[in-house]
């Protein structure tokens, strides 16, 4: 369902960022950069906000739960697409992980103000389209689309 929006559209911006698992000092840096880019492109403030927010929660999850990951962003006049692909142990039960309040976060993650089991709910809530797949022992893949009303 997400791919429907992807056809015949040339991105006006594309970029890719690497995120290191366990690097809590840098957590959120990529989301910040993405926000700056979206603002510079002159996108509507609520689009910028939603995209930065879903990128941020996803980045926190990579830092918290994966060895490393990549965040890809692609923007067309119709939508912002953010994809995160990580290498890690994956999510055994996605339905459970999507539940508000479910978390396996350790003390370090909670100290940062995360780990209350709301991240994936937030990502879903602020995305217009959201897809999650995960393979045990391999990693997790998120795809988020935020629609731009009436084009950019």
């Amino acid at each position: 369902m997400i791919t429907v929006l992807d056809v015949h559209e040339k991105p006006i911006f594309e970029s890719s960022y690497t995120v290191q698992g366990g690097n809590f000092d840098e957590a959120g840096k990529v989301a910040s950069q993405i926000k700056v880019i979206l603002k510079k492109l002159g996108l509507q403030t609520d689009v910028v906000r939603k995209a930065a927010l879903v990128a941020y929660e996803s980045e926190i999850n990579i830092v918290s739960y994966a060895r490393k990951g990549t965040i890809n962003i692609s923007i067309t006049p119709q939508r912002v697409k953010i994809e995160t692909i990580d290498e890690g142990h994956g999510i055994p039960d996605i339905e459970l992980a999507m539940q508000e309040g479910y978390s396996t976060a350790d003390a370090k993650i909670r100290e940062m103000g995360f780990g209350a089991g709301m991240g994936l709910c937030n990502i879903k809530k602020f995305s217009d389209q959201f897809q999650i797949t995960s393979e045990i022992g391999i990693g997790t893949h998120l795809k988020m689309i935020i629609l731009i009303e009436n084009g950019a």
């Binding site: 000092d25 989301a31 910040s32 809530k125």
Partner: protein, 124 residues
Amino acid sequence: MTLNDVAELLDAEVLAGHDQLEMEVKTGFGADLMSDVLAFAKPGSLLLTGLTNPQVVRTADILDIAAIIMVRGKRPVPEAIQLAKEIKIPVLSTRLILFETIGRLYEKGMRGCIERVDNSFGRP
């Protein structure tokens, strides 16, 4: 009211953003859970929190929060202050507890950035 007024009212120390104290603020949001801040706080609001790590500043940046008030005498780690200066988000620290902090601001006309949450997700 301005951030200057807020600083005075809360007897707060300004740790970053000394040159931004003329900024007007009308609403606020208080929480120690950054996922809650992300879900509910609104741009241009004050963020009142007891957390002091750089993630508070990152969260404020993502949401275009006007300024951060750290309550209960919490002092941020130097990295958080450094980041706040880079991103240009004022950070104030007050020794008042969260209840007292919000009470004083409310009394002077400041309001929550939302009054209540809707039950649109997660909750039965």
